[in-house]
């Protein structure tokens, strides 16, 4: 897991965040039987090496471990395991969800960090 979040601030990450809007799909339920998995379409508010802040039109449960698919640059799809660190409703009726990207022992987190580093070059 990454350790650069400030739990007391909820969604506030103690690092530079790249403000930007891209589509991010959050798997809010696995499929059961014939029922397919349920994906919640979100849009990022910002991304960073250790997490993302997204806007969703429904709430998610804080503490849940959820799969996230996010495509940066129309090419690499990042499949990440994320933990919901915060979820708050804003005045616009949308929910702001703070997600921390977890280290699953494979290359997903290092690859994500590498992508963010490349975006920060631009």
């Amino acid at each position: 897991m990454t350790g650069t979040w400030k739990p007391e601030d909820g969604e506030q990450r103690d690092e530079y965040r790249i403000a930007g809007r891209i589509v991010a799909d959050l798997q809010v339920a696995d499929g059961v039987g014939d029922e397919p998995p349920r994906w919640l379409r979100c849009r990022t508010r910002d991304i960073s090496a250790s997490g993302l802040s997204v806007t969703a039109d429904e709430p998610v449960v804080e503490g849940a471990l959820l799969n996230l698919k996010v495509t940066v640059d129309d090419s690499a799809v990042h499949s990440l395991l994320t933990e919901v660190r915060s979820c708050r409703e804003w005045a616009d009726g949308f929910w702001r969800v703070g997600l921390a990207v977890l280290d699953t022992g494979d290359d997903s987190l290092p690859a994500w960090k590498e992508t963010v580093a490349i975006l920060l070059e631009a």
């Binding site: 530079y16 891209i22 849009r43 090496a49 129309d74 290359d107 290092p110 975006l119």
Partner: protein, 585 residues
Amino acid sequence: MSLIESIITELRIPDLPYPVGQSAPDDSSRWHSTLSEAWQAGSDERVVTHLQRTDAVWSMRQVNAAYLADRIMNVFLRRSGLHPYLVHRAARLRFWLALDLEARGAEAVSEQRPLHRWLDSLQALRGWSRTGGRSDRPVESHLAAMEQAVGEAFRTGGEEPLEACVSDWLEQISHQAEQAERVAQRLWQTESGAAGQRAAEQAVRAALSRTCRGRQLPASLWAFIEDDWRVLMRRAALEHGIDSEPWRHAFRLLEWLIWVGDGNLCGQDRNRLYHVGEQLTDKLVQVVTLVEGRDPDPQRFAPVDALLARRLRDEAVEQEAASIPEADPRWLERPDEAQGDEARSWVGSWYLYEADGQQIRQFLTGFLEETGEVLWTNARGAKLDIEPFRSVRERFEAGELTHLPEAYPFAGVLSDTLDSLQRVLESQRKQREEARDKAREEAEALRRAQEQAFEEERQREQEREEREARERAEAEREARDEAETRRINDEAEIREKVLAEVDRLEAGSWIQLGSGEEALRLKLALRIRASGKLVFVDRYGLNRREILREDLATRVRDGEAQLLSEGAEFADTLSRVVGRLRVGR
């Protein structure tokens, strides 16, 4: 690269719909049509709000041009000091400014651009109030023309209509400013003259009020005072001032006339009556000569002489009560010099107040020394009101009247806005560099830690296999019994097989804990290699459970858990293997 260009291409403001990475923005016609539609609809929202509303991919340049246009216009309008209605109408030009900033960068806000010239020219309307009257019309009509010109520029992509509209407007306001100046000058001359006459008239009224109220006078004397002496006193006040000798003498003689006229006063002191009677007419002549500069007609004072004769003969004279209205005695004193100095320091500024929910602006054109009043005018130089300065000050102190903030030119707004954004930009560049290096270091550290964890796991596995081989050999040596040896081998075989299956579980693999109605299905979310822990969650990502791999293998062997993800076939096979081994034992 200019600062504006850097801001437009690099800055990232939270919550704005920037692209991430090299994603190609949508067709530029989308940008143009979004701004144009917002303009045509008379939107009062921010430009970025319109960009946020759609899912289109906007370029950095477009998002930042929108942000910059919003910010510049917001600061300008907040500080402009213009009437809220004008601010409201001008604010809509943010859509045109955004389009121009995206297309031209820094040049869009240069002093030669029509928008810059137009915004600066609005300072000429600082004093404009929306009153619903005639003076609204030229401004309303120009605003409509300007909106039409911008609409035309949006449609055609050419700036000629806008350029022409702004040039016409600049000419118009220059002409209006000259005209307002002329009107204000003429008004000032008129009002200055009128102020002297008003002060003189008020002083006479105050003098009459002080001396005559409550007195009984013969009708002939009333007529003399009203028709003659009052006029003389006004002339003395106007031409010589109320601190002059002629005014003082005229005032003193008014008191004498009243004394002689009211029998209740003069009847009590015969000696003084003789004394006054001897001198009164001569003094009247002297004062008239002093004030009017020529000797009066001797017949002028006949009513006074006749009254004096009757008083000296002690004849009864019919009297009537004076009908003199109350007057402000302050008119008998010179305006306070200190107040004059203060009032003059207020001259030449705009002030505003609220009336019936409307903001009214008025210009303090001048201080009328004779009356202690100020002259208020509007933006066209026309008279609004004359008000005593003390009343102005009272309203100001009560907060009913305030100064209109000083004019803030567009260039100043631009420079302030860009300065503050430059600081943000520089800070962001530094933060980005640091974050980039940190992200790279973290990625490398994670990969190193993973390799190390793999290596440690491999070593642990190797050690375990060696240990189990030793244990088996030892057990074989100790228990020669063939059945016991087979049992131990079977146990080891089951455990090894199950552990191998547990290690094969991948993220997303399912297990079942318990059985029957209390069975709980969980998904492997995460494997922590360093500690050998497996983190499971339910289908909603909740109910997190952490289980050591060895514990899970034991539970599977003992039938307390099942591995489901490899499918029913795997579960069945595993269960058959476990069952067969148990039966064999």
